[in-house]
């Protein structure tokens, strides 16, 4: 099987974020591999390992695909150190400020040229939080959409079954290769890169491509930010120490606010 995992480098989800000129300031924050993509990398590795592995010369490969500035090699390298075989990073100045539509167009072209059987994504990035790229990839590629998976079972002969979990309930779904999968957080426990994995990742290939090499034209964003304003910070209100009547004080506050 040829498995691809789409990953994104995002500002550290524990850091404060700011807008500059209508787009997220990515320069002045620590950048990391999107938390939720680690589950996708892990699931890809597990699928490969369950059916003979992706070691060199093994029957399967796991390729990391990303779009972002050249700096995104750090996030890609982390996915490689977990055990993915190789990576493709699309970097082009014309892609700065891309929306999900443009991003999905670039990723779909790379995926379609790679001849993969399975593409795995996280459910969303912790910066934009749109949750739309996996569905867009499926629509653009014309591949089956198996998203929000809490369980993935792959028959290497060419079939994937998943358990889809959303607020709408639980669905058992299946489709034939090729498929686009997104996995929810906690589908697995992502491995920490081992020292050996980190050393090995340094030697793995990250193929960097610009838009011309990918073969898609730059597309401007189809939605525009008109303005972005920091909201005034919330002010701390009344704070009491519980000396035996803290619960009652809380309820008195709620009653005054007509919340109960």
């Amino acid at each position: 099987m040829k498995i691809a995992v789409c990953v994104k480098q995002v500002p550290d989800s524990w850091a404060e974020k700011k807008m500059v000129g209508g787009v997220l300031d990515r320069e002045n924050v620590d950048a990391v591999l999107n938390d939720l993509d680690e589950y996708a990398v892990e699931e890809a590795l597990r699928i490969a390992e369950a059916h003979g592995g992706n070691e060199e010369g093994g029957p399967h490969t796991v390729t990391v695909i990303s779009m972002g500035p050249e700096r995104a090699t750090e996030a890609v390298r982390k996915a490689l150190s977990m055990g993915a075989n190789d990576a493709i990073l699309v970097s082009d100045a014309a892609l700065a400020g891309s929306d999900a539509l443009a991003t999905s167009a670039v990723l779909a072209k790379v995926i379609s040229d790679g001849g993969y059987d399975i593409v795995i994504c996280g459910t969303e990035s912790t910066d934009a939080r749109m949750s739309v790229v996996p569905a867009m990839l499926s629509a653009r590629l014309g591949w089956a959409q198996l998203t929000f998976a809490s369980k993935v079972v792959v028959d290497p002969a060419g079939k994937v079954s998943i358990t889809r979990v959303t607020e709408a309930g639980v669905d058992e779904m299946s489709a034939a290769f090729p498929v686009v999968i997104s996995v929810v957080e906690k589908i697995n426990e992502p491995r920490y890169p081992s020292f050996k994995g980190i050393m090995a990742a340094k030697k793995k290939t990250i193929e960097q491509k610009d838009l011309a090499a990918v073969g898609v034209a730059a597309q401007s964003a189809w939605s525009q930010v008109k303005d972005a304003t920091p909201r005034p910070p919330r002010e701390a209100g009344l704070k009491v120490t519980d000396e035996g009547s803290g619960g009652e004080a809380l309820v008195t506050f709620l009653a005054e606010k007509k919340l109960i």
């Binding site: 807008m19 996996p134 569905a135 979990v165 639980v170 189809w222 008109k226 701390a236 704070k239 606010k257």
Partner: protein, 317 residues
């Protein structure tokens, strides 16, 4: 007057309050047509529940493909209606299903998309609260039909009765949309509690519960609240991940958010700081969440919550 489409949102056999919220927002832009996508033979019954808010017209499409093929089939049908009606905008509920439908319709109709709007104005400008509610952003779609997903519970719904005209239509579902098949579907396990993102009150527990959510649940149940949890609590396996509030979990914006034993890292604040009123119970007086609390109790949640529960019960008689 131009037409604005909304995708009617259902829970079981009934339109949700979210449907009325979408209609209320859409009515600012134009005349509202609600699209009802129903299993064969169920269209009239479902359409009859879409009788709230400023809805002038209901477009009913029946097909069993919606249940068998999910998001992709729904998106195909909806894209067909968009191409047919050329609406001024398409509004969809901003949950996992709605956002995925919107994503596919955007591709199929070559349109721009904005997700998680908390408000929509007459010129289809969407208001979003980004970065965990720390920044307000106004955006507009500049290509095709503006496709906007609206976060449940964000808009004061016009709940007046409506008797919209019913129009039956058909959809062409592509072979591509039928590639994934749903073998079985289970509705969410409700457990008597409201859905986290739609609840008016959320009571959440964190590390301070030490794995015991009993006091948190008891208080939540008395208030008719949903139960949330911090990432620390879900990572520890104390509460299901589906209840996680925060940057990598759900974003909630209830009338009242009660955080119990949650210190309040940015991770968590990102998911709840747009709540109207925030109450914090924590025995650590230095917990950062106190900084954004309207009311804070420094104390052990296992003392404070049972007392509060009893006090609410006494008030209710």
């Amino acid at each position: 007057m131009s037409t604005v489409l909304i995708l009617a949102d259902f829970s079981g056999d009934h339109a949700t309050k979210t449907t009325a919220e979408l209609a209320t927002a859409a009515a600012r832009i134009g005349s509202v047509s609600a699209v009802v996508l129903a299993p064969a033979g169920k269209g009239a019954a479902l359409a009859a529940t879409v009788n709230l808010g400023p809805i002038s017209n209901v477009i009913v499409i029946e097909s069993n493909d919606f249940a068998s093929h999910g998001v992709a089939a729904v998106a195909d049908a909806l894209a067909g209606v968009v191409k047919d009606k050329a609406p001024a905008a398409l509004l969809i509920a901003s949950h996992a299903f709605g956002k995925e439908v919107a994503a596919r319709v955007a591709i199929l109709t070559e349109s721009g998309i904005i997700t998680d709007a908390v408000d929509v104005s007459a010129d289809a400008t969407a208001t979003q609260l980004v970065f965990g509610g720390s920044t307000t952003v106004h955006s507009q779609v500049s290509q095709g039909t503006p496709i906007i997903t609206v976060r449940p519970n964000s808009i004061d719904a016009d709940l007046s009765a409506a008797s919209p005209a019913i129009e039956n239509a058909t959809a062409a579902i592509s072979d591509v949309a039928k590639k994934a098949t749903i073998a079985s579907s289970q509705p969410p396990v409700k457990g008597g509690r409201p859905e986290l993102t739609e609840a008016n009150i959320v009571v959440s527990g964190g590390r301070g519960t030490d794995g015991n959510f009993g006091a948190v649940e008891a208080f939540a149940d008395l208030l008719g609240a949903a139960v949330g949890a911090s990432r620390a609590a879900t990572d520890a396996g104390w509460y299901p991940h589906s209840h996680q509030v925060g940057q990598t979990g759900k974003t909630v914006s209830p009338q009242l958010y009660v955080a119990c034993g949650i210190s309040g890292a940015i991770q968590h604040r990102a998911g709840m700081q747009t709540s109207k009123t925030i109450v914090v119970v924590n025995k650590d007086p230095e917990a950062p969440l106190f900084d954004i609390a309207d009311f804070g109790v420094i104390g052990d949640l296992f003392n404070v919550l049972p007392q509060a529960t009893a006090a609410v019960a006494a008030k209710k008689g």
